[in-house]
Amino acid sequence: MAVAALLLTKEIARYRPALYRLALLQIRDKAAADDATQETLLAALEGIERFRGEASVKTWLFAILRHKVVDVLRQRGRFVPPPSEDLNAELDITGFDTLFDAEDCWAAPKNVWANPETVVERKAFFKVLEACLTRLPARTARAFLMREWLDFAPGEISSDLDVSPGNLRVLLYRARMQLRTCLDVGWDRA
C-alpha cells in the first residue's frame, strides 16, 4: 500500500508541466497558473486514497485542475486584456477570406486529416494542437477555453470579457477556424 501510494505520488508530480501549460493557456497569468497547478497537486496528494484507478491519473488531475481554474476565474473577476491586444484586431476575420472563392465556396479541397493513431503520431498531433492553442490571442483563447473546457455559458463569457454576444460569437468562430487552419497546415503534411 505504501509502495503504491509512493508510486502514485511520483506519477502525480510528473504531470505538473502539462497541468501548468493548460492553466496558463486559460488564466494567462504565470503566478496564478502556478498557484492553480500547485493547488491541484496538493489536492491530489491529499485525496490520494480517493483515487480509484477507474480514470487515468492524468484525467483525474485534469478534472481537479478544471475546478481550481473555475475558482480562479470567478475570484479574479473580469478579464483584463493585455494592452498589446486590440479587440478589433481579434474580431477581424477577413484573414479567412482566402479560404473561400467568390461564391463563398471552399477554394481548395479539404483532405481529411490522417487519423493520428500510433503513439508517435498522436504525440506529434497534440504537439501541433498545443502550439496552435498557444498562438491564439489571449482574449480569443480565454473565450474558447471557457466555452470548450470550463463549459461556461456564452452569456457568462461575454460579461467576463466585456464583449457583446455578437462579438463573442465572432471570437469563438475565429478560434475554431484558426485551429482548423493551423492543424491543416501543421499536421496534414504527414
Binding site: 504531470y15 508541466p17 502539462a18 493548460l22 487515468s56 492524468k58 484525467t59 483525474w60 488531475l61 485534469f62 478534472a63 473561400f100 461564391e103 463563398d104 465556396c105 471552399w106 479541397p109 479539404k110 483532405n111 481529411v112 486529416w113 487519423n115 493520428p116 503513439v119 498522436r122 504525440k123 498531433f125 497534440f126 504537439k127 494542437l129 498545443e130 477555453l145 466555452r147 470548450e148 473546457w149 456564452p154 460569437r169 469563438l172 468562430y173 475554431r176 477556424m177 485551429l179 482548423r180 492543424l183 491543416d184
Partner: protein, 69 residues
Amino acid sequence: MTDKGKVTCRDTTWLVSDARDRPLTESERASLADHIAECSLCQGASKQFGALFREVGAYLKGEAPDTEA
C-alpha cells in the same frame, strides 16, 4: 427546399461553430445537412471540424499523450 434556406460553404462554417454554443433551429439544421450532403468540400471540412473538436476535447480532459519529449 426553397432557395431561401440555401447556405454557402462559408455559412456552414458559422453554423458548425454556432452549434457548439447554442442549439441550431430546425431550418438551420436542415440547411446545414442539405448543403453538406451535396458538397464534397464541406464533407471534408466537416470531418476536419469533427476531428478538431474530438481531439481538443481529449486534450482538455487530459486524455492526450504528453507533448514533452
